[in-house]
């Protein structure tokens, strides 16, 4: 079932709610870090969050940022509600970095808390970190890489434990390890799946196999270098990562981007989304043993890759974004080429939609598989097509239009079934919307410069930014201290927010349901690990 053109009828003024409930206890800084930053002390962040959840069911945690503030550690809870984005600030002393967990209020916070605990050593009471979550198993205890006092050349990894001969276990229950090398996952990540016969009873994730420390590396490079560094977080959706960072820097600089640059960015982003969605739609075919579908989708993805090369000069890493605009203009002679290619793709779409909606073996494998109910989707704070497949209408392009998205008409695709089939069909429909957006942007491309003059020096300040990546809401937090390189860059990628959904929905289903369920999240582990 497809819902369209629905309007968010949420007019809750979340700031007012907080003001009335916790009048004198918290300090509200309007206009900072989103709509407002709410400064809390002594565990009041839980009360603020509770008040927000009670007032607005769509309250969800986008990310938790940990900051090294010298004598203390800052913990920033970035919260999105149905119509606002705000930040709760909390601080803990460095010598006793304890703070109460919020997973009983918002269960989706669990991974975000664990990451901060692993990388900054904040102890979340009630959500204890055992071992390591994103860091290597051999990482020494008590060394937290994102703290400023860590010296990289002094870190000594623990030696790997000597291998013991394991006794074979006999029994009905089998533990299957999916990953780090497994045909269903194209990137390294480990999921230990306990099965009883063919039924999954438990899934234990272990992420961090490709953790490259990009957040830390960004702190020692200049802003311009960082644009290309964060672009390398993910190969598939690289354009949106660069765009997200660039927008954050522009917010600190308070520079405006010329209108033509905004449209050029939209074209690049939507081409990126097109190729990413086609990739996933095809890959899903591979996961359910439908190789023909995979080959067809990837054949039709190739012209889009050519378009990306045409517009940016590069096939994969477009390197198009720069602070103040884009690096490359679109020639007028190229515009008809883009339009004809997209028109060709549009002609093929009805056939693909027919397959995804009605093909019996696809329906047999995807319908009622990995069902994520709307309540669970809200609780687990999932984003992007996963949320939209479960009837949660969140799309940053609509909710908080960036670039030229406010001026371009397009539909927000929402399905209500919440199963794998719905998630794939959300993407199927979004392919068409993306084509519409690119065509509209080409028709309404403003004239003028494609790059503004951005100031050379970034003043001290901080900014948060959200964009809609192909996989969902992408978030970044940038803190500048006035020097040539940022003090802290935090990126929360969509897959990171969506993994809890997989852990929940896989339980009780067949082993054979794992691959389609998993691929319907469009997992990207190099995004997840950063």
């Amino acid at each position: 079932m497809r819902r369209q053109n629905q309007t968010s009828n949420n007019n809750i003024d979340i700031i007012k709610v907080i003001e009335t409930k916790l009048k004198d206890k918290v300090q509200i800084q309007l206009g900072q870090l989103g709509k407002a930053a709410i400064v809390t002390i002594n565990g009041l962040h839980r009360d603020v969050l509770k008040a927000m959840v009670e007032a607005d069911e769509k309250t969800a945690i986008t990310a938790i940022t940990g900051l090294d503030l010298g004598p203390s550690l800052g913990v920033l809870y970035h919260i999105r509600t149905s119509n606002a984005f705000l930040t709760i600030r909390a601080e803990v002393p460095k010598d006793n970095p304890k703070i109460q967990t919020v997973i009983d209020i918002i269960p989706g916070a669990i991974f975000h808390e664990l990451e901060v605990a692993d990388l900054l050593g904040v102890v979340f009471e009630g959500n204890q970190l055992v071992g390591h979550f994103v860091l290597s198993e051999y990482w020494p205890e008590g060394v937290y890489p994102l703290r400023k006092d860590v010296k990289a050349n002094e870190i000594k990894l623990n030696p790997p434990p000597t291998e013991e001969k394991k006794q074979l276990e006999y029994g009905k229950v089998v533990k299957i390890i999916i990953g780090p090398q497994h045909p269903a996952l194209l990137e390294p990540e480990k999921f230990a799946v306990t099965v009883d016969g063919e039924t999954v009873t438990k899934v234990e994730p272990r992420i961090g196999y490709v953790h490259r420390g990009i957040e830390k590396a960004a702190e020692s490079r200049t802003y311009l270098q960082d644009v290309y560094l964060v672009e390398r977080i993910c190969g598939i959706c690289n354009t949106i990562h660069a765009c997200n960072f660039v927008e954050g820097v522009e917010k600190i600089l308070k520079t405006e981007v010329p209108p033509r640059a905004k449209y050029l960015r939209v074209i690049a982003l939507e081409l990126n989304r097109l190729h990413s969605h086609l990739l996933t739609l095809g890959h899903a075919g591979l996961e359910i043993g439908y190789e023909t579908l995979f080959q067809y989708f990837w054949r039709d993805r190739e012209p889009i890759m050519d378009l990306i090369e045409l517009t940016s000069g590069n096939r994969v890493y477009s390197s198009l974004m720069t602070v103040g605009g884009v690096r490359r203009d679109l020639k007028d002679t190229d515009l008809p080429k883009i339009k004809t290619t997209l028109e060709d793709l549009r002609k093929k779409l009805p056939f693909y939609r027919q397959i995804y909606e009605n093909e019996p073996s696809i329906k047999a494998r995807m319908k009622k598989v990995g069902v994520l109910k709307r309540e669970d989707a809200l609780k687990l704070c999932v984003v992007g097509p996963v949320a939209r497949g479960s009837g949660v209408d969140i799309d940053v392009r609509k909710d908080e239009p960036y670039e030229a998205y406010g001026e371009i008409p397009f539909k927000e695709i929402v399905y209500t079934e919440g199963d794998t089939w719905a998630r794939m069909n959300v993407r199927m429909d979004e392919v068409e919307e993306s084509i519409n957006i690119v065509e509209y942007a080409i028709d309404h491309l403003p004239t003028g410069p494609f790059r503004g003059k951005a100031p050379r020096v970034v003043p001290a300040g901080e900014a948060v930014n959200r964009v809609e990546a192909p996989r969902g809401e992408l978030f970044c937090y940038i803190k500048s201290n006035g020097t040539a390189s940022p003090e802290r860059v935090k990126v929360r990628t969509p897959t990171y927010a969506n993994i809890p959904a997989f852990l929940k929905t896989a339980i009780g289903e067949n082993i054979a349901d794992i691959p389609p369920n998993f691929v319907s999240l469009d997992p990207c582990f190099s995004c997840t690990d950063r």
């Binding site: 089998v174 299957i176 063919e198 439908y290 190789e291 579908l293 054979a512 691959p515």
Partner: protein, 328 residues
């Protein structure tokens, strides 16, 4: 007294070498066809149109290092693929290929049952080979093989009896040679069901659950390397040829067809290969057309649809044989 002719028949034509080459050729046809259906080119390098690719793959695997897992049950692990391959080739030797079967006899009454049993034993050996490797993926893959072939063996046996009923004999030679009108025309319902059951029995898509790589990696092949893996692959390919050959014998009139000039054996072999290819192509087409089903869907399809349909088909055939065909 050693009969040279018999030795040649067993070793060269239509025996071992011919069957092996036919298997590799069918593998190439399958791969090329699948590739063309999927907008790919398929094998291209080894030989004209890549026709030698299956042979090249086989030889490559033979040269690879042979690793045995520490926990594997060594004897079964080593010999199961080899025995399975031998049994499958032996089963094909009972089928009339150039007018007579490899042993140059017309078979005996009941050899249909024997070769169906052979194919079951081969499937069971494949199950054992995965089970003996003591790997979770192999174990689950093997368990799937077992559940699947145990389920589909029953309808397959029943449907194989349909031509036997029409011909009034359990000898493959009699069944094949008595088809003046191919049984595909006399009992098309049984043919369609037989193809589906065969597809499931041979673990081809959409029933390729036991070796679903996105779920259980290599299935029962996970721990196999080198020569053993080569023989596992070859066993699978021979199984496919066996299945297609069985369909040819039971429904398409076997190797028998018009003889224009010269040796009848030549024409019979030609008809046999052409009919076999037709079946292989149909089976591969079905494979490319669908997504893989889930194991519970495969099983419920068997017990709820295929098995009752097979029983109905048998009843229909008996009725037709008794009352309708004598009129034709």
């Amino acid at each position: 007294m050693i009969d040279l002719d018999l030795i040649l028949r067993i070793l060269i034509f239509p025996g071992f070498t011919f069957i092996l080459l036919l298997t590799l050729f069918c593998d190439w046809v399958e791969r090329k066809l699948e590739a063309r259906l999927q907008n790919r080119v398929g094998p291209m390098v080894a030989g004209p149109g890549g026709i030698l690719q299956p042979l090249a793959d086989f030889i490559k695997l033979l040269t690879k290092e042979d690793i045995e897992p520490r926990d594997a049950k060594k004897t079964v692990f080593k010999f199961a693929p080899l025995v399975a391959f031998t049994i499958m080739v032996f089963a094909i030797c009972f089928l009339p290929i150039d007018g007579a079967s490899v042993l140059s006899t017309t078979g005996f009454n009941g050899d249909l049952i024997v070769i169906l049993t052979f194919s079951t034993i081969a499937s069971f050996l494949l199950f054992l080979s995965g089970w003996a490797s003591c790997n979770p993926y192999g174990t689950i893959g093997s368990a799937r093989v077992l559940t699947q072939f145990l389920g589909y063996d029953i309808p397959l046996f029943m449907l194989a009896l349909t031509p036997a009923f029409v011909a009034g004999s359990l000898s493959i030679f009699v069944i094949a040679s008595s088809q003046t009108i191919p049984y595909i025309l006399l009992a098309p319902w049984a043919f369609v069901l037989f193809i589906i059951a065969m597809q499931a029995e041979l673990e081809k898509g959409p029933f390729d659950v036991p070796d679903a790589e996105s779920e259980v990696v290599g299935g029962l092949e996970t721990e196999y390397t080198g020569a053993k893996l080569a023989f596992l692959h070859l066993t699978r390919d021979v199984q496919i040829v066996f299945g297609a050959a069985l369909v040819v014998e039971l429904f398409l009139g076997g190797p028998y067809g018009p003889v224009f000039f010269g040796l009848p054996a030549f024409w019979y072999s030609l008809w046999f290969v052409l009919k076999l290819l037709a079946i292989v192509i149909v089976a591969e087409y079905v494979t490319t057309l669908f997504a893989r089903l889930r194991i519970d869907q495969v099983l419920s399809a068997n017990w709820r649809i295929i098995l009752p349909a097979a029983i109905l088909s048998l009843m229909l055939t008996v009725a037709m044989v008794t009352w309708v065909y004598p009129l034709v």
